[in-house]
């Protein structure tokens, strides 16, 4: 599975070196060294990021770009499509039909539901319950795993219907969609969403009852915030330390930089500080905009304050957001009225485009420059994981000394569990870290 996996643990030393973490979009590794109780190095290395895509889209039309960027990720293609399409439409001054706006929000709800359900039930819950995998967990908790799969399926159905297929959707176009959707098509989603809402609510109760490691991080949280709704496609970029920017202005507060150990660019604040995106940030910054069902579920847990500081509680944030996405989806389904045309006509022209939306894993930013034919001449794509990477490393460095006295399996579990708390795009690999522990003393 990995080229070299080692942990060395003496009384004050810990050395974790896992090479060859694998994911579809690239490869990464984890390096963590603690000596005499002091963290010398904490690196989450990612060998491949969607940099190639920034070149691939050059010379392409906006509609082509929307299809291309969907290929960046098999789990959150909608996030890439939504960010790109909103960037183009904002830059070109295209007004979309309210029905299109609602369908796009529904599409994003679908992605959130499937991504969150996958992470909660198949990737993260086994950690808390002491199982090496969802398959092992299913031997004792089959009903829970089946419920999680059904929840995920409810999200898949939305993406498949509106996106045209479950993975790498193809229907999103500048100005709208490639086709119209009849009300009967959309209402057909209702039954599975009703069942999903009940499951999602029970999921909140389940994950709130879990006993996470104690850990309080003190970093900055960043997310979109919208005055009227929980942030997905629109909103301003805000932070726990007072940032408030238009979604086009990400570059005025953040920048990407190359680090020697990673092919992925790391994003940091202009002041050099890392920041954290994702469900915990959104809950902390936008709890009041949650759907009433989700807000009630969050309130019932009594964990809102802990979600803001303990990464292990992100599973609760994710579950609350699943309730929000399902409830929102139901509301959109019930209110849906088709538009007269599937999309608004538009004319290509030179423009500078930028936008940010909320992927399941956190804020995603795109910027494009278009020539007079409307073809892309420059692109910048900043996914959430590359933005979270510095915060993950900082948290690993802060947390590592806490595992020094633990038995080796517990050390491994706690470190893996922490990484999975951020649901990085390399979670598929980190879920299967198989660390060998060697005593170098």
């Amino acid at each position: 599975m990995h080229d070299t996996d080692t942990i060395a643990d003496t009384t004050g030393d810990l050395e974790v070196d896992v090479a060859g973490l694998t994911r579809v979009e690239g490869e990464g590794s984890l390096r963590l060294r603690v000596r005499d109780g002091v963290v010398e190095e904490a690196r989450l290395e990612i060998f491949e990021a969607p940099r190639y895509f920034e070149q691939l889209v050059v010379g392409r039309t906006p509609d082509e770009v929307i299809d291309i960027v969907a290929r960046i990720c098999g789990i959150c293609p909608v996030a890439y499509q939504m960010t790109a399409v909103h960037a183009f439409e904002h830059a070109l001054g295209i007004e979309i039909d309210p029905a299109v706006r609602a369908l796009r929000r529904l599409l994003y709800c679908g992605e959130w539901i499937e991504s969150h359900a996958l992470h909660i039930y198949l990737l993260h819950l086994p950690d808390f319950l002491g199982y090496p995998s969802a398959l092992d967990m299913a031997t004792d908790h089959r009903a829970a795993v089946e419920a999680g799969l059904e929840l995920k399926k409810a999200g898949n159905r939305i993406v498949e219907l509106i996106g045209g297929r479950a993975i790498h959707p193809v229907s999103v176009r500048v100005g709208g969609f490639s086709r119209s959707f009849r009300r009967t098509d959309i209402v057909a989603l209702r039954a599975s969403l009703e069942a999903a809402l009940a499951t999602a609510l029970r999921t909140v109760d389940l994950v709130a009852s879990l006993d996470p490691p104690e850990f309080a991080r003190a970093g900055r949280l960043v997310a979109l915030r919208h005055p009227d709704e929980y942030p997905m496609n629109e909103g301003r970029i805000v932070s726990t330390d007072g940032l408030d920017l238009a979604p086009t202005e990400w570059r005025s507060a953040f920048h990407e930089e190359q680090v020697p150990w990673s092919h992925a660019l790391q994003a940091r604040g202009r002041d050099g500080r890392p920041y954290l995106l994702g469900p915990s940030s959104r809950i902390t910054l936008s709890a009041r905009q949650l759907h009433p069902d989700a807000l009630a579920a969050l309130t019932r847990t009594g964990l809102a304050d802990e979600i803001a500081v303990n990464p292990y509680r992100s599973i609760v944030a994710r579950a609350v957001e699943t309730v929000d996405a399902v409830a929102e989806a139901l509301a959109i389904v019930d209110a849906y009225r088709p538009s007269d045309a599937p999309r608004t006509a538009w004319e290509p022209r030179a423009a500078r485009a930028a936008w940010a939306t909320e992927a399941p894993r956190g804020l995603i930013f795109h910027a494009y420059e278009l020539d007079e034919r409307g073809h892309v001449t420059h692109a910048q794509i900043v996914p959430p994981t590359s933005q979270n990477q510095a915060a993950i490393e900082a948290d690993l460095a802060a947390f590592a000394p806490r595992v020094l006295g633990l038995p080796r399996p517990e050390q491994t579990l706690r470190i893996e569990q922490l990484i999975r708390s951020y649901d990085p795009c390399i979670s598929c690999a980190t879920h299967f870290l198989d660390l060998r522990v060697e005593d170098l003393s």
Binding site: R71, I75, R142, A147, K153, R202, D205
Partner: protein, 175 residues
């Protein structure tokens, strides 16, 4: 720990929605992505297979293998999963029974499954279906999976052998 989910007599809705008349004796699930180097090997093989399959064999290009893909296999049908894998020589073809893969902790790592390993996808599908899937996985070793890359020469040269392995697996499953 007791979880707040109890077994239910209601069959999962996908069983209803995915149910099809059991016309296919064998389903061939093609994994991979044509734009990611050697991950496109199964796609390349599928193009050659298209005209060589009997009427009772259904082939689907699924990209990333998902549990739902396996739940869509009709009851009683066999399944052949074709995917590129790391851990093998480029162009090396390996065939394994699905039931053996579930029990295997150190097996092939597919390049096109994002979130779960094969053994988990197959094991969870078996659990939901209530009985083990009958079938084989045919993996071809790859070396480069970068976006925009073509097939490695050794992988491209092995495509006819991959096609042959798939046809052979289908034949044995139909027996």
């Amino acid at each position: 720990m007791t979880l707040p989910f109890s077994p239910t007599a209601r069959r999962p809705s996908w069983r209803r929605s995915r149910a099809r008349p059991p016309v296919a004796a064998v389903e061939v699930l093609i994994c991979g992505s044509a734009d990611r180097g050697d991950d496109g090997a199964p796609i390349a093989a599928s193009r050659r297979l298209r005209d060589r399959l009997e009427d009772d064999v259904r082939m689907r290009v699924v990209g990333q293998l998902d549990i739902d893909d396996l739940l869509g296999v009709p009851a009683g049908a066999g399944v052949v999963i074709v995917d590129a894998a790391t851990g093998l020589r480029r162009g090396q073809i390996v065939e394994l029974p699905l039931n053996g893969l579930v029990a295997r902790e150190d097996g092939l790592r597919p390049r096109s499954s994002h979130s779960l390993e094969f053994r988990e996808v197959i094991g969870l599908a078996d659990m939901v279906r209530g009985r083990p899937l009958r079938g084989r996985i045919i993996a071809i070793g790859g070396g480069k999976f970068s976006l925009g890359a073509g097939l490695s020469p050794s992988v491209a040269n092995a495509i006819p052998a991959l096609v042959g392995a798939v046809l052979d697996a289908i034949r044995r499953l139909r027996e």
